[in-house]
Symmetry: C2
Subunit: 129 residues, 2 copies
DNA sequence: CCGCATCCGGAGAGATACTG
DNA sequence: CAGTATCTCTCCGGATGCGG
């Protein structure tokens, strides 16, 4: 069946979507898009709140997927620079629209959450001490 | 410090980004955007490969965040319809640009992975039987 | 001193089986 | 048919070790 090929593609597309839409990947792309080339520790500072392990892991994946280049300088304190590839930059534009949406609408989400909390009193037995 | 407010906002924005860029959320938004209103099982069929639990959980979150409406019909076999809110629809446009990017560029990602695999022979000892 | 790999413990994703 | 409870297993973060 041809639909096997189709579902194969769909699975692949979804898998890549899952990687590309990863939390740290989105942040890293956003940062590298406006900072250009950065070395590991600088990038870590910009990201904030990420463990070296996750950062390394994510960058590895991104390198594997052709989103970033990884340049290693064989110097005494090791130095590794990361930078978006053209592919990564093109993704950056799509990612940007997501960030813009969140920036623009996050207050609505907050309000929705508050409204939802009101009509769904979860745990706290209110008043009457 | 005012930067406390700033970092507070950043954390919030990132948290919402994390929710909104969730794998299942992206798929659900994409489907509801083009199918309109769907009941639970229909939606489950369209998504494909998702457990009821994950679907329920994700839809709950989306309802909480004001992205979908959840209408329950008090009938004998329970019936629940899900539909994007205006907020969800506006997100749908941003999400669409992500899907378009993946559709357009996933073959480049595949190629990048193959190229990466070649220069990084991980485990498999090649040839020589 | 910088970047990376590994081991371990806890938290959360996820599928299966059951309930109204 | 929609949702919940239980169990499993992966993933993430911190500490450690190492090589340059």
């Amino acid at each position: 069946m041809e639909s096997d090929i189709q579902s194969e593609k769909v699975a692949l597309v979804r898998e890549i979507m899952g990687r590309v839409a990863d939390k740290w990947t989105l942040i890293i792309i956003d940062i590298l898009a406006e900072e250009g080339e950065l070395r590991f520790t600088r990038l870590r500072e910009h990201v904030g709140g990420v463990s070296q392990k996750m950062l390394t892991q994510t960058l590895r994946q991104m390198e594997r997927d052709g989103l970033v280049t990884r340049r290693v300088y064989p110097v005494v304190p090791p130095r590794v620079d990361y930078k978006l590839t053209p592919l990564g930059e093109s993704l950056g534009e799509a990612v940007c629209s997501m960030w813009l949406w969140v920036e623009k609408n996050f207050e609505d989400v907050i309000r929705a959450r508050q409204a939802f909390a009101l009509q769904s009193p979860p745990v706290p037995g209110p008043s009457i001490p």
